[in-house]
Symmetry: D2
Subunit: 283 residues, 4 copies
């Protein structure tokens, strides 16, 4: 029912392309073969592109380096919009002083740290400093002891009435080089949220704030209409739902989460309808 | 624990004020006494203000008139941001032709109609035109037969893989002149969504798109920082959660949904923390 | 992966068979062809059988008559266990006096009425008798005005702290003679429950109380082990999940809700695994 | 509105008493002072009693010993009905061979082990034995490495279409001697369930199967009506909701989860109404 279209002919209709990262540019085994051609083509055609990704484990600078390592030197850090950037903006705007407790690696905290707040891992929160904790941020699933620190997180949130920020809404992510998955911090956040009964603040697709952040960056330099932007993703309920809701045209690519045989069933079952379906984002 | 502050002293710190409508400006019995003074004060001080409301039952023009009727002549239609406007923008951007089926009054459909699409009530969808239905919009809880048309809606969405748009996320609204409530179209939407198992597209607070729409309008005329904007609302999980997440400072007023005696308990229980708490939005 | 087995050879291993009604015995078009042979075979083999059905629209007597009308004279009312019987038992045990308000037809209320309580439709609840309302029962999706009476129901439950009983957990049911569905009272109940934020008491599969009711009836006459009972159903998340959890062996039949092409996908996706899969319950 | 009644005068109306354990008999600091008098009184009056508890960390024998240690020698193991017993019954009835993988302590597995199946911790499941895993049971929050084994659990359930059994539905439990809580295995189960998208089989209050198990034990020796049984608990949504639904009269005691000042608010908010409210279960 949904005809699979040629990616190049789709891309030719738009001025600006938003890409999801995993399943679109990268896969279990590194760079998806041919994606370097896509970015070369976009440069050649003078089209702008952004990577819009649910990732709060690293800074845009570090994310850009991860593309360079797999041979995609063209990706600059200012082309990367991550959910971590939104978490950082939230802290800059809304938390003025005190401690920001976090779950994640030191590296993930280093990025949000730059806002001038005092970041401390959840494991460092004690009865002596808990009263200064003014926000709790869930950044990454690594870098802490799950049993100890998830229990600590629940107890901090029972004692302190403070915002809890989830910097990545994904529930799982694939493990490179295997066909297994890991529980992402967004999945952990859902458990903690249901246990403490409080409402967390979540950043990441499908929420429009991700798209708006990119849209705003573009408009600072040049006037643009939503009609000129195409969102490319492999996941219906984040990339496509979010893109659609923000008013963008969307392409579902079949190189990641959504397998070619399942695409139609899933589109029907969810009611999340991409504007186009393409095999991959390779031109 | 949360000290109740004077609204005027709070407002004085900001350049732009966003107001929720019901429970802040209006109540069961019409205009909340003294609100005309608030808007006079804002005009006098050269502060900008917007009404940011989950309402898709009428156009901004008609909403403005409803304020004029209760004696608040100052409110102009271009100061009103409604969730209906976002639904309309979505249709303009994303649905190019065919029929848009709707649940709501003719008046609510008239507003989205202007986008050039053919709007038809769900009751007018038959086996002969169902194939042309390219979107379904839930606008208002009145104007249709619930038993017949909610069942029709379920069957349309089982047959057609199309976007379903909810133009007002509220689950209930108060009935003027009583202490009773009515089920809002957002509550009905949740039922239909769970029955058909599809993902609906929802517009309205706490979603950031509402705040972004207002923010964009302002920035077209003048540069502004989120730090300069204050969101005033009576409901924690729409007004305050949404304002906070967008990065705005927020005031919870105790003139509507959140009663003075419950405010602290609810803030603790939900973890949704306003920047300030004020008795009302009257200066 | 799941081999489809012959129903007779499966049935031969058990002494007592529980059947779901719709999709197993009856379909859109009346009796499923051949089911009269199944019941004749069970009688001949001296096996006991029960119909375990989520239905609160009629008494077991009336349900038995509905089988007689389509030519299945063998089904006696004492072989029918309905979720309505559990709702009735609840009222008998737990509500001692006053009014039981209901949503449903007069006929559905007539059945629960026999417990000696005063049953009144929600439409008859006024400010003068609301204080005597000691329970609210959701029986059937017909027999009332949805807009008026669902709004009344919400307001009754906001004013009175009383149990709300849902006598049928199904969210939809198929309309005879068409390929359309109707919203069942269980779907309506979910909406009301989420709007008033209270916990409803639900009777019906997959809840074990349905199976226990039948199990108790049998044990009054003869000792029996759960190992001797087979549950036959067409729906994974009611019949099969409920049967499994109660400790029964289960057959998924492909004559109703679960289509032959979808069975394996759905079993994998839900993790609800029947002991057997059969084309139908026809011997 | 809800008058607090004397526990002895309530108990005098019933022949059989079901007690929840934590918050009713025991608290953070061991035995609730005076509970030894309650059990002496019940013995003296010839009333039967059972402890109905969401606990799968130990056998009834070990649970009985835990009462002896705090000075309540009267509690015999055959008076204890735990959710672990239901999990064990499920495995006995429904899983015939192969490996049962588990999350929990060795001691918790030892109890279910007796059914003749081969139990192995999730950490011992490899590519070589995963095909023999026929069920996965979540028993206790201790005894395993959360990060490693929760990720392993997700991947086992992605690869194997097998029942996942949750032997304790509680989301948190209090830590003795502190005012902190621990995440219970039921809370962990909810996260895993939502991540893998499968339906788990849960045993524990408020599910009726817990009450039925006790009810059946009693009826083996003596005829009894549900009208003769009283359920005593400190938690509305497990003890009281479950007892009510099963058709029992219920007492909410204010010695545990539900604080005296919150009782009325919570009863109103949840709509879960106990038959009586008592300060504690001390006579």
């Amino acid at each position: 029912m949904f005809s699979v279209q040629d990616f190049k002919s789709v891309v030719d209709k738009y001025k600006i392309i938003f890409f999801d990262a995993f399943g679109v540019i990268k896969s279990y085994n590194g760079l998806i073969t041919g994606m370097e051609k896509t970015f070369a083509y976009l440069e050649e055609q003078g089209k702008e592109y952004y990577i819009v990704t649910n990732d709060a484990s690293r800074s845009p600078m570090q994310l850009a380096e991860s593309y360079h390592k797999v041979g995609l030197d063209i990706i600059q850090h200012d082309r990367i919009i991550s959910s971590g950037m939104l978490a950082k903006e939230y802290l800059d705007l809304k938390v003025n002083d005190g401690i920001v407790a976090y779950l994640g690696t030191e590296s993930s905290a280093h990025y949000i740290d730059s806002s001038g707040l005092h970041t401390l891992p959840v494991s460092a929160i004690t009865q002596y400093n808990i009263d200064q904790v003014n926000a709790l941020v869930l950044l990454d699933d690594e870098g802490f002891n799950w049993f100890d620190d998830l229990n600590r997180t629940v107890n901090i949130l029972r004692k302190r009435t403070i915002p809890a920020i989830v910097a990545n809404t994904d529930h799982i992510y694939p493990i490179t080089g295997s066909n297994e998955v890991s529980i992402a911090i967004g999945g952990v956040a859902t458990m903690i949220e249901s246990i403490v009964g409080k409402k967390f603040i979540r950043f990441g697709k499908p929420d429009s704030q991700m798209f708006m952040f990119a849209y705003d960056l573009i408009r600072e330099r040049t006037p643009v209409s939503k009609k000129d932007i195409l969102m490319v993703g492999d996941t219906l309920h984040t990339d496509i739902l979010g893109g659609n809701k923000f008013g963008l045209d969307t392409v579902l690519v079949l190189s990641g989460n959504t397998l070619p045989d399942d695409a139609e069933t899933r589109i029907r079952a969810t009611g999340i309808v991409p504007t186009y379906v393409c095999e991959s984002a390779v031109v």
